[in-house]
Symmetry: C2
Subunit: 245 residues, 2 copies
């Protein structure tokens, strides 16, 4: 069984940001796509889990990019399992340009949940066999456990719409990421590129849910973000940017 797989993509003009780069939400979607592909190949994917009424749920994502793939450029994503225990599995990604230079890394944490009970399942019971765990930890700063934003610089209300909802009938992961990026203006991304993005999913949102999107600048180049409804925090995130020069 393959302990890692690599997929190559081409970034067409129609799929670029205004800065002619791969959009962060599109990269997050690619990471989910290739993780799904690898899980299926080593038989720990949807088909296997559903037999136990379970499904994979993405819990945390941290991405660090030195450079973003540009317009009409090919790039590759490689993924492997870092670790797997009772409670969760860490999966890593390496992003390379067309010359094979490493331009970024990502680390994700996944849990399996029982679909009806919405409670975590025991991964070691689900997969008693030996799995092709590669182990290599990507050079990404570990996840930070962010506290609640007490004083926000800005709070924007948003109601989730039809196109935000995916086939699980929850808000799609990439829509959260877009909602967060939309707190910044075009000039901000013209002047800055995202060097680190981190997001933790805490509660699921549904069609019609009204939320507040909160943003707090923690220093010149770092921002904390939060999406929360009346009762619960849905996601916490942090964005670090580097001025373009």
């Amino acid at each position: 069984m393959e302990s890692q797989i690599t997929e190559t993509y081409f970034l067409s003009a129609a799929r670029c940001t205004p800065e002619d780069e791969l959009p962060l939400p599109a990269l997050v979607q690619k990471l989910i796509d290739i993780a799904t592909l690898h899980a299926n190949r080593i038989d720990i994917g949807y088909d296997r889990l559903i037999k136990n009424n379970c499904a994979w749920v993405l819990s945390r994502v941290a991405i660090e990019m030195e450079r973003w793939p540009g317009i009409n450029e090919s790039y590759s994503v490689t993924t492997w399992i870092v670790s797997l225990n009772r409670f969760y599995s860490d999966r890593a990604f390496r992003i390379c340009d067309s010359d094979g230079n490493v331009i970024g890394h990502a680390l994700t944490t996944w849990v399996a949940i029982d679909i009806d009970a919405r409670r975590p399942a025991n991964l070691l019971s689900l997969f008693p066999e030996e799995l092709p765990v590669k182990g290599d930890i990507p050079p990404v700063k570990p996840f930070v456990r962010h506290s609640q934003i007490e004083i926000a610089d800005e709070v924007t209300p948003y109601t989730f719409c039809y196109c935000d909802i995916d086939c699980n009938r929850h808000v799609n992961t990439t829509r959260y990421v877009e909602l967060l990026l939309n707190r910044f203006d075009l000039g901000f991304f013209d002047e800055n590129r995202i060097s680190r993005f981190e997001i933790a999913f805490q509660n699921e949102a549904h069609f019609g849910d009204l939320v507040d999107v909160k943003i707090a600048r923690s220093d010149n180049n770092e921002f904390r973000l939060e999406i929360a409804d009346e009762k619960r925090t849905l996601t916490r995130a942090a964005i670090t940017v580097t001025p373009r020069s």
Copy 2:
């Protein structure tokens, strides 16, 4: 030179609507992608036009679907040029399921504009050679020239955000489509599937533009939609649905 090309796609769970089907905005993007690919192959694409400071602009789209590709299903899109005159070019699309059954058609109209003057260019001057025009007109009801919506059933304000903007620094085509679909609720699409969608792009929108999204029900299964700012209509569209049974 190929008078038509066909591309095959796979619809993964992560890319489905809540109804486990191909989303309309994703289909529109695929039509643009394959049109771009075919134009490049027959040397009437971006690289050729930019030498004359021109670019293709999508003017109108009409899509009619008998059935939508479903979750974990392969489907194909075939495209060819229907006609080309001084002012515009019509391009057709046929959508087939994995057994080769035709499940839908689309017709699009494209113009070439001078990038600086933002005025239409003469296609016959740009392409004096003979082009592989296939000619076959797809069985799609012709475009309707919709008048302005005078009395809307609902008017919703919206301000275009960072993730709505593409590398041309205009609002991306698929974002208009999403904005229109978001006027309906989840229950509506659970009960109805889109059988025809038509959109005409009249003026370009930019980052930060505040618009009104207007909707008017013209009969039980037909809706007219409009996106307009204070001064101008940006797009007009019509959606026809068929109850799922």
